[in-house]
């Protein structure tokens, strides 16, 4: 009886500390900074540099002659840097499209539980895309540098439903400075993404972008398989678009899943801590 009296005293002391149930921020909604092709709500931490190689092959239906697409390949190299824990900038280049991209990702609000509950993590992503040109092209009458530009602005809203499942919705606005006669310059789409963790370090992801206006080409549907090891994240994909930048994969997808126009690809990303904490 005396020991139970004493234990009660200790529990009372512990309860003196327990009342600070501050808000707990939800983290690691997705494993990587991209769901498959499109951006996820994950932002790099301050002082962290990420190097990413994105690699896309040809279509699986290219036949044995083309080794089912492996003969064909295009890549995007990208560097992203965390300026603050809630803001990162990036620069990259796609080989096939000969396009340079620069972007900024800003986290507005984190999902939280505890004393202050907020249901979503909300991040904006804005990017500019510059199609490279040859010096000889600039001599042409019709050449205007601004014609080489397109832009993308996205609002990424995600929710970590439980330890395994996260979902994201990405309303997207893409503006092309120069389009073909019948096309629209301003295009709106809605991205849907989800990830399901299978075991601690492996997840499967799915992503679909639904074009809302001015639709000419197919909508892009992609699946990914993420493996995380130490400082690397490996992502394996299947998609009906080989492009890795928003103006291309959302609105210029010619491939069709039904016709097996499926592109296999992979992303490898590695993080380096440039500025240590403390």
């Amino acid at each position: 009886m005396l020991s139970s009296v004493f234990t009660n005293a200790q529990d009372d002391l512990l309860s003196m500390l327990g009342s600070d149930d501050k808000s707990m921020y939800i983290s690691s909604t997705f494993k990587g900074k991209k769901v498959v092709n499109g951006q996820s709500v994950e932002v790099l931490s301050k002082g962290v540099l990420q190097f990413q190689i994105q690699h896309r092959f040809g279509t699986l239906n290219s036949g044995f002659y083309n080794l089912f697409g492996l003969d064909n390949s295009q890549i995007r190299l990208g560097f992203d840097y965390g300026i603050k824990d809630w803001m990162s900038i990036g620069i990259g280049r796609s080989s096939e499209l000969k396009t340079i991209d620069a972007s900024a990702k800003i986290r507005l609000k984190r999902q939280s539980k505890g004393s202050a509950i907020f249901p979503f993590t909300i991040v904006t992503n804005s990017a500019i895309f510059i199609k490279q040109y040859r010096w000889s092209e600039t001599k042409e009458e019709t050449f205007e540098f601004s014609n080489q530009l397109s832009f993308a602005h996205q609002l990424l809203v995600a929710r970590k439903i439980n330890r395994e499942l996260s979902v994201q919705i990405s309303p997207t606005f893409v503006h092309y400075n120069l389009v073909n006669y019948a096309e629209k310059n301003d295009r709106i789409s809605l991205g849907f993404g989800a990830r399901q963790k299978l075991i601690k370090r492996i997840s499967v992801n799915a992503e679909y972008f639904m074009q809302i206006n001015g639709k000419i080409n197919n909508d892009v549907l992609s699946f990914g398989f993420d493996i995380e090891t130490g400082g690397h994240v490996f992502q394996l994909h299947l998609s009906n678009s080989p492009a890795m930048i928003e103006p291309a994969f959302i609105h210029q997808t010619i491939g069709n899943w039904r016709d097996a126009d499926i592109y296999f690809g992979f992303n490898i990303s590695r993080v380096f801590t440039i500025k240590e904490n403390k």
């Binding site: 005293a9 003196m16 690691s28 962290v48 801590t273």
Partner: protein, 174 residues
């Protein structure tokens, strides 16, 4: 019925015994892992503790997510994969001071991490001076295995099984 009477009695005692309680909320706990490939250290500056000079009871509490690492990715993996702080957000120590002589105090009690609880016995300095209790020079080893913290084979040369923990905190009289 008897328990209820005792609880009420204790409750009342709490008020009268308040004068002997010391509370601190920004103590520091660090841990260090030494392994062949790399050393890992982390620091938590938001440790809370209460000491009751009358009963000699000593309790500590911290949030796992308050540990700061030199590399942010370490913090992410620490919380998501190793300590699973979304399920086990806090770590606590509930114990008592068994001996305090010649500047060396011995404390024993239950340490809970990652949902597992183990009995530990630790030595350090616990000095009561005017209205402050100074706890320092506390150093002990914990085995990750005892707390079911799993290290995958791929990083077994990066993370040690035995982790050195140090505690420093000042408690003010309430």
């Amino acid at each position: 019925m008897v328990r209820q009477i005792i609880s009420i009695f204790l409750f009342l005692i709490c008020f009268s015994a308040n004068a002997q309680q010391y509370l601190g909320e920004d103590g520091t706990i660090t841990f260090f892992s030494k392994a062949p490939v790399e050393d890992i250290s982390a620091i938590n500056n938001k440790v809370s503790a209460v000491y009751d000079a009358k009963t000699k009871a000593l309790v500590f509490q911290l949030n796992i997510s308050d540990f700061i690492f030199p590399k942010s990715l370490m913090r992410t993996h620490f919380n998501e994969n190793y300590l699973e702080s979304d399920i086990y957000p806090k770590s606590t120590f509930v114990g008592k001071v068994t001996e305090n002589k010649n500047g060396i105090a011995h404390v024993e009690g239950k340490l809970s991490i990652h949902g597992e609880t183990n009995f530990i016995n630790v030595a350090g300095n616990l000095l009561v001076h005017e209205n402050t209790v100074y706890i320092s020079a506390v150093k002990f080893i914990i085995n990750l295995e005892d707390y079911k913290i799993k290290i995958p084979r791929i990083v077994m040369y990066n993370i040690a099984e035995e982790i050195e923990v140090k505690v420093n905190i000042k408690l003010k009289k309430q």
